[in-house]
């Protein structure tokens, strides 16, 4: 089993770093659905960066962490931040809405794409005040 944690500033540059990092991890471990994995993590990071921007404004020094656990059977990923997490009404929307419901919407597709592309997705409120988007993909 491999466990990897990367802590990054909540910036566009860090998002691009994570895209390249996840891409190389996926190649190294011969992940079959490489594009789905890269996009899902990318979407969770967009969510994190946007949440921190809303909470702290454009200029802040907050970070997000990308945690990956890779076993023979699956990948488990957490994107962790100190924003306020996903509001309860958004959780509900995720259960009710599909991508077809958002056909003409100009926002709100990110988490639905993760739900569609990954085998599992969930939200965590952690003891230290952090929040996380979690996801799993079978190998």
């Amino acid at each position: 089993m491999y466990e990897i944690t990367v802590k990054c500033p909540a910036t566009i540059e860090a998002m691009e770093f994570c895209d390249a990092f996840v891409e190389s991890i996926a190649q190294f471990f011969s992940i079959h659905e490489r594009e789905s994995l890269v996009l899902s993590i990318h979407e969770a990071i967009i969510n994190s960066i946007e949440a921190m921007k809303q909470l702290y404004g454009e200029d802040h020094n907050n970070t997000f962490s990308l945690y990956m656990r890779i076993t023979e059977e699956e990948l488990m990923i957490l994107v962790i931040d100190r924003a306020n997490g996903i509001p309860a009404h958004e959780h509900k929307k995720l259960h009710v809405n599909s991508l077809e419901d958002l056909l003409l919407a100009e926002s709100g597709r990110g988490l639905l794409l993760i739900k569609e592309l990954m085998d599992d997705m969930w939200f965590e409120q952690r003891e230290n005040g952090e929040h996380a988007i979690g996801m799993k993909m079978r190998r």
């Binding site: 566009i12 540059e13 998002m15 691009e16 895209d19 390249a20 594009e35 890269v38 996009l39 990318h42 979407e43 967009i46 960066i49 991508l99 077809e100 056909l103 003409l104 919407a105 100009e106 926002s107 597709r109 990110g110 794409l113 569609e116 592309l117």
Partner: protein
């Protein structure tokens, strides 16, 4: 310290029946603002009713990139513009746009030649985006069903 950053190139080519806009690179959170501005400029310079969005060389798109296409679809409907996607062999992007249900809004074509032939034969019958999609599907293009 030099760092790698995402790039997106967009280019318009004016054809007899349609305007072709080609995308190369990544249409993501970091490039979508530039893409919006560029697409706005390119669309304002053409008077063609049909716009072929050639995404054959688009290597990555995220939810914010998808939103760019929706934004312009909605904006250009009043101007009687119609949009068609061309993928060539970009199966990854085709799959993602199918997952996002874009085939319910846009015809998906494999090649530019396919679009050209369709527009020569049936372009005059197409009043709007919905009609375009209906005729495209009726003609037997399975992907847009």
């Amino acid at each position: 310290m030099n760092r790698w950053t995402s790039t997106l190139e967009m280019e318009a080519t004016s054809m007899a029946i349609y305007e072709k806009i080609s995308f190369k690179g990544k249409l993501t959170y970091s490039t979508q603002q530039i893409a919006r501005q560029k697409l706005y400029d390119l669309l304002s310079k053409t008077n063609k009713d049909f716009v072929l969005l050639d995404v054959s060389e688009l290597s990555f798109i995220d939810s914010t990139g998808l939103a760019v296409f929706i934004h312009f679809l909605k904006q250009e409907v009043d101007k009687n513009r119609k949009f068609i996607f061309v993928f060539s062999n970009n199966d990854v992007l085709n799959k993602l746009l199918m997952i996002a249900k874009f085939h319910k809004l846009f015809p998906f074509a494999k090649t530019e030649q396919e679009v050209n032939q369709f527009l020569v034969e049936q372009g005059h019958l197409v009043a709007n985006q919905e009609a375009l999609l209906n005729i495209w599907v009726k003609q037997g293009n399975e992907e847009s069903k």
